[in-house]
């Protein structure tokens, strides 16, 4: 499950990226490239673990993730920008 702070908790959809799973619930997330190189979807990961489907090129801080190119490995808690 994906807990989004100040939003609701949404399920992660199989074979989809974290970004797609969140968008599926009609929650607006910033995005541009959807390929991990622009950093528009930069999001804080409060707890849990994610795995990248492709190398995240954009600059992210140690506590941040790029939802456009990763999926959760466990229940996670995130904070949208």
């Amino acid at each position: 499950m994906i807990h989004i702070q100040q939003h609701k908790t949404v399920p992660h959809l199989p074979q989809r990226t974290l970004l797609e799973s969140i968008e599926d619930q009609k929650i607006v997330v910033q995005f541009h490239c959807r390929e991990g190189f622009c950093g528009a979807c930069r999001t804080k990961l409060r707890s849990g673990e994610v795995e990248y489907t492709s190398f995240p090129l954009a600059y992210i801080d140690d506590d941040e993730i790029l939802p456009c190119c990763c999926y959760p490995l466990s229940d996670i808690e995130i904070e949208l920008a």
Binding site: F31, C33, L57
Partner: protein, 376 residues
């Protein structure tokens, strides 16, 4: 320190700082101090495109249908982008290459600059299609006050760094008098100039293009000037990658992951860095005012464009630790995302050189049973 094109000191590039260490000698990429630059090079090369691949012939007909105020918006934006890429096609090379100490960063800067020259060539491609002789457009770039104002603001930081580095290379540290003017050259001052210059480049890549991008894509939303919009999409994708690289450089410094002195400078010059960014935001808003002075265009006006600049600026500034100074929470131009999405840039693999199409296409593994059907 005198520049040498092949530094004979047998140094270890893995312990050099990004800038102002030993000059690079062997261009080797098997090992990297900062792997990110090698990754950026690979990504950028996979984005390779040629302006001539994009058919802009229909734009000529569309252009005739535009109102005078829309023509002004379209042409002014092209002029401004031509200026930006004229500067970016040469300046990172001239300013940064002489002081870079890592092979992967050196090659990244060269790759980056090369792509800016593709952008410059694409503006000629667009303009030559619209006008038999585009000379008057190009000439106006160095006459137009609105454009000149921006040009001097952008080039000033580059020029300042380049001149100081030249003095340092020829005369070393110390006080040097050139044409009656005293210049105090110390490593600390050089690094400060580098820091400010990198922040100015970062602001350029981060927001200076976005007013014109928004106008171009607003035309495309009305199915006008679509050839041009296709080219600008490719340019926007490249610029996003360039921005990523300057964000990495600034953050590597600020977080003390490179040269410790640069971490001090980042702290010391934070206010100046913020001012550079805010100044770029102000100029972009002024540019929006200039664009719409003869009337707005369908789907876009000055106010919404200024909000978009603030929205983008918030995001870009927070990426380099400068906070979010503007009070814009949601994206005022959500449809822009469709044009900045790299999936929508180009799809047919045979028409472009996307990475997945080029990499690992040859299966070199041959097993004995692959010949099972053969009879001699």
């Amino acid at each position: 320190m005198k520049y040498t094109t092949f530094n004979q000191v047998n140094n270890n590039a893995l312990i050099e700082p990004m800038f102002f260490g030993n000059p690079v000698n062997v261009a080797r990429y098997d090992q990297q101090k900062h792997q990110i630059f090698e990754k950026l090079i690979e990504k950028q090369i996979s984005f390779f495109w040629r302006p001539e691949e994009v058919d802009v012939s229909k734009d000529r007909v569309d252009f005739q249908k535009l109102s005078d105020s829309e023509k002004h918006i379209f042409i002014s934006n092209l002029k401004y982008q031509t200026l930006l890429d004229s500067i970016q096609g040469r300046s990172p090379n001239i300013a940064f290459l002489p002081i870079i100490s890592l092979p992967e960063l050196e090659t990244w800067v060269e790759t980056w600059s090369f792509f800016e020259t593709i952008h410059s060539r694409s503006y000629t491609h667009i303009l030559r299609n619209l006008f038999g002789d585009p000379s008057s457009i190009f000439n106006d770039i160095v006459d137009n006050q609105e454009i000149k104002k921006r040009a001097s603001d952008i080039s000033q930081y580059y020029d300042d760094l380049i001149f100081a580095v030249q003095l340092w290379q020829t005369l070393g540290e110390g006080q040097h008098t050139v044409n009656g003017k005293v210049h105090n050259i110390t490593m600390r001052e050089l690094k400060k100039k580098l820091f400010l210059c990198m922040n100015s480049v970062n602001a350029l890549e981060a927001i200076r293009f976005y007013v014109s991008f928004a106008c171009t894509f607003a035309f495309a939303e009305r199915e006008l000037m679509e050839g041009n919009s296709k080219i600008i999409r490719l340019i926007a994708r490249d610029e996003n990658l360039h921005l990523t690289s300057t964000q990495h450089i600034i953050n590597l410094w600020a977080k003390g992951k490179d040269d410790p002195e640069m971490a001090e400078i980042a702290e010391e010059c934070k206010e100046q860095a913020t001012e550079i960014f805010l100044n770029a935001v102000r100029q972009e808003k002024e540019w929006a005012t200039y664009l719409f002075q003869q009337g707005s265009m369908i789907g876009l006006n000055k106010e919404i464009l200024c909000q978009y600049v603030e929205f983008i600026a918030n995001h870009r500034m927070s990426a380099i630790g400068l906070g979010q100074p503007f009070d814009v929470k949601s994206n005022p131009l959500p449809w822009m995302n469709n044009y900045l999405n790299s999936d929508n840039v180009q799809v047919a693999p045979q028409e472009s050189e996307i990475s997945s199409y080029l990499v690992g296409q040859i299966d070199s593994e041959v097993n004995a049973d692959d010949f099972g059907d053969f009879d001699l």
